[in-house]
Symmetry: C2
Subunit: 126 residues, 2 copies
């Protein structure tokens, strides 16, 4: 993989947020530095980085894909109300070993997603 300024900027955006952003959000951020970057470039690089294991996809079941620059073992919480994705320090790696041992799969990653209503949104309801 050759160097590119665009890819560096995308990595930098992803490594400096905990918001698990979509491609569109990343595009908006990167455009501050590189105003004429193409949305296709963002998508292409996100796919390449995911393939290399440098970033992680976080599918939560809303309209679009989300990405995470933090590849250490942890879990996610998706709020159905405000649609935010937050981290939960829950290491799923034990389950990974169990799955490989019991089912014969070659497991590359485990995504553990909790869905519900977050603390802030619960507050707003009362």
């Amino acid at each position: 993989m050759n160097y590119s300024r665009q890819r560096e900027a995308i990595i930098s955006v992803l490594k400096n947020t905990t918001s698990h952003p979509s491609a569109a959000w990343i595009y908006d951020r990167v455009r501050i530095q590189i105003p004429n970057i193409s949305l296709g470039t963002v998508y292409r690089n996100l796919a390449a980085l995911e393939k290399e294991g440098m970033i992680v996809k976080v599918p939560v079941g809303d309209a679009c894909e989300h990405f995470d620059g933090d590849t250490t073992p942890h879990s996610h919480f998706y709020c159905k109300s405000c649609e935010a994705i937050s981290d939960i320090p829950f290491d799923p790696s034990d389950a990974l070993k169990t799955a490989e041992a019991n089912h014969g799969f070659e497991v590359h990653s485990v995504t553990y997603t909790f869905t519900g209503i977050c603390k802030e949104c619960l507050k707003d309801k009362n």
Copy 2:
């Protein structure tokens, strides 16, 4: 929610497969019974059934959404090679309790997705 023949057919398709199908797949199946059903009807009913908790979304990070008629606690394995989604009898409900207790979220569901290469695809490689 009023009765509709279309919704019954959709539920029936979902309850009689373990393949975690997409809306398009469900549409094709239901059309055998109801040839002029509309794709929009399938989407609308899937959303309504999911809201009611009668079915479950299974986001795996491919192009489209998948659905599961089995709402009992279990987990999923997504094969990156053949793109099949299979069940794993891994009950995530303990983790749910942990998340609620430690983080104050109101957790509605937990999605535990393993991603990798399934047994059959591993066989094909050799």
